[in-house]
Every structure is written in structure tokens, then in C-alpha cells.
Symmetry: C2
Subunit: 195 residues, 2 copies
DNA sequence: GTCTATAGGCGGATAGAC
DNA sequence: GTCTATCCGCCTATAGAC
């Protein structure tokens, strides 16, 4: 048995915290609310976690670590820049679909992290953005992409996948793959029909 | 004198509230914080406003009213569907640049509106989204746009302009017009170079 | 490891002097 | 119309019984 009972319960608390933080925000979620969802009293949770801050920390850095390690894998792939951007868009959509609550918290509530973790999180995000931007820049230099402003392209792509989590429900007449295909079509090919 | 002194001070409170709500969130902003920014004691603000909820209400509905009335104007213009979508993207970017804090609050903190205003806000937003989607759908039917899923195209466009407010600073080597041009290029023309 | 009880602080909002 | 003082409730976190 690799995961102790204590670890399992901790993960239950983390999962419920992500859902509540997403729906009500970090400040709008009380430890009593969370305890109610988990099925214990607020005081009992402190046998499994250190503080409310620590919950936010675990959720935010789990997501940022995933992005950074996946980016490194994609950078190492022997594909076109277009293929790499597609892979990154797919990564964002898959993470949203699989772990949407945590992604939402990492997107919106990171600013409530206490220092020094706040600065560390911002730096991790900046590092990811720089790597993403470098791929766009290289794609432009290679003639694969239009010569647009790199920062504008980066943020347009990054933010375009954000509402997936607010909107997408599996079983809404659109599979995750159709979602990916359509978003990539709009972002890479554009809304307007060529010609 | 059309605006009484009381109204002017109320608008000052609203402007500072939008900035603080944007930076710290609705729940993370106390009336004492706000009073400090405005330059009075918390209790004194209640001569100008009814409650903290009312501040959020005024900010959110000011933005949603603007979107809805502007959409009506754009719908009535005698331009192509492509031109109408461009006009809507420009509207979003201009509002972000001119009243970014309020737009940010309307995007993120609307969920803390108390009923029945919460439902009213959601309905207004849905109405706007339906009007926007109808333009995309008509553009596809007219052959101007690629035959993508309408909801996916709608949310891709709507969310693509959201990070403008987080990223854009006038005097960062990019004018508001260049920003518009680049975003419209990516969204309408696509990142990939044709051919 | 879960509970009850509670400490200690901060929240929104009001009362009433000036 | 602004202030000081304050009410009262909810917050995170801890103490200590079991």
C-alpha cells in the first residue's frame, strides 16, 4: 500500500477544495464549507493539512509543474512549429477537461498565494510563457506562421482555451476531440474562409 | 451643474472599488481598504452608497449594459459579417483599454452578485452571447466563415480578448490600434500562413 | 484522528456626536 | 457628511477531551 489512509484523505480534501475555490473563489470559501463537503468538522482537517494557504499552494503548483514538464517534452519533439503549437493547445484542453477545477484555481486564485510562493508561481508562469513565445517566434522565422506580434499571438492562444472550462460539458454534443479540432482550426487557420 | 458633489464622490468610490476588486477580488477587498483608497473612513462611504453589494452591482451592470447597447448598433450596421465581428472585437479591446478594471470585475466577480441580480446578469450575458453567435452563424451560412462549431468559435473569440487587460500597458511598444490589428489577424486570418 | 469549545481577529454595517 | 465607537457575526486555527 503506497498511499497511506492519511494521504488519501488529504487528496480528497484537495479535490473538494479545488471545486469550491473554483465556484466561490478562495476568499469566498470557508474551511467550514470545505469540511462540510469532505464530511468532517473543520478542526479535523488540520490533521491532514497545515493551513488553508497550503491547499491553494498544492493546487496551483501541481498545475504549473504539469505545464512546465509537458512543455519540455513538446519542445524536444521532432515536429514542425505548427505541430508543437497544436500539441500545446491540446495539452491545455486536456488538462481543462481532466482537472478543470484545479486549472481554474491556478488561473484565478494564484494571486492569493502568500510570499514567497507568490513570486515563485509568477516566475514559473513567466518561464512557461517564454518557452511558448519562443516556439511562436521560431515558427514565424521559419515561415510557418504569419508575422504577427509574438506577445499578442501568445496571449490570444493562451486565453482562447480558458473558457473551455466554463463552457465545456462532456455530453453536450461535442467530444473533447471535436473541441480540440475546432479550436485549433480557428486559432491556426482563422475564422475567415481563405480566398 | 448636472452632477452633484454627492454623485461625483460616489463615482470616485466606484472607480476605486473597481481597481481594488480587480486586484484583490471582491471577497479580498474590505470596506476599510476601499475607504483608505478613497480618503475617508469606511462609515462615511455609506452616505454615498448603500452597501458593498451595490458597488459590485453598479460595476457589473454598467459593463453589461454597454456591451448590449453596442451589439445592437453593430447588428444594425450595413457591413459584412466579417466586418461586424471585427467591430465586436474592437469594442471588447477598446472597453478593456478604457475601463479595464470594471471589465475585469464584470468578468470575474459577477458570481458574487446576490439574487435576483445574479440571474439578471447571467441572462444579459446569455443574450449578448446569443446575438454574437447569430452573427457567426450567419457568416458561416453566407460563406464568409469556415464551417466551424459556432459555440467554439464564439468562446474562442470572446476569451481571446480577455488577457488584454492583464497584459496591455499603453506605451509598451504597441498602440491600441496595433493591438487590435494583430488580434484580428490571428482570430480572423489564423496563425498559420496560408499556402 | 475526530470531536466540542473557543480564542483572537477582521468583516459589513449602524448609531449618534459634531 | 464625516467622524469615533461599536455591534455582532464569521473567519482561521488551536486546545484538549475522548
Amino acid at each position: 500500500m503506497l498511499k497511506t489512509k492519511r494521504t488519501v484523505k488529504r487528496e480528497l480534501i484537495l479535490a473538494e477544495a479545488a471545486k469550491l475555490f473554483k465556484d466561490r473563489g478562495y476568499g469566498g470559501t470557508s474551511m467550514r464549507d470545505l469540511a462540510g463537503q469532505v464530511g468532517m468538522e473543520a478542526a479535523s482537517m488540520y490533521n491532514h493539512i497545515r493551513s488553508k494557504d497550503e491547499l491553494l499552494d498544492s493546487i496551483c503548483f501541481r498545475i504549473s509543474d504539469t505545464y512546465i514538464s509537458q512543455l519540455a517534452q513538446i519542445q524536444a519533439q521532432a515536429t514542425s512549429y505548427s505541430g508543437k503549437i497544436r500539441a500545446l493547445v491540446r495539452l491545455h484542453i486536456q488538462l481543462m477537461v481532466e482537472d478543470g477545477a484545479a486549472v481554474s484555481v491556478a488561473n484565478h486564485d494564484w494571486k492569493y498565494l502568500p510570499e514567497p510562493r507568490l513570486s515563485e508561481f509568477k516566475q514559473a508562469r513567466k518561464s512557461y510563457e517564454r518557452g511558448f513565445a519562443a516556439l511562436i517566434e521560431a515558427g514565424i522565422a521559419a515561415g510557418e506562421f504569419r508575422p504577427v506580434n509574438v506577445s499578442v499571438a501568445l496571449f490570444t492562444v493562451l486565453s482562447a482555451v480558458r473558457w473551455v472550462e466554463l463552457w465545456y460539458r462532456p455530453g453536450r454534443g461535442l467530444t473533447a476531440e471535436e473541441l480540440e479540432t475546432n479550436i485549433i482550426t480557428v486559432l491556426l487557420g482563422g475564422l475567415e474562409r481563405p480566398g
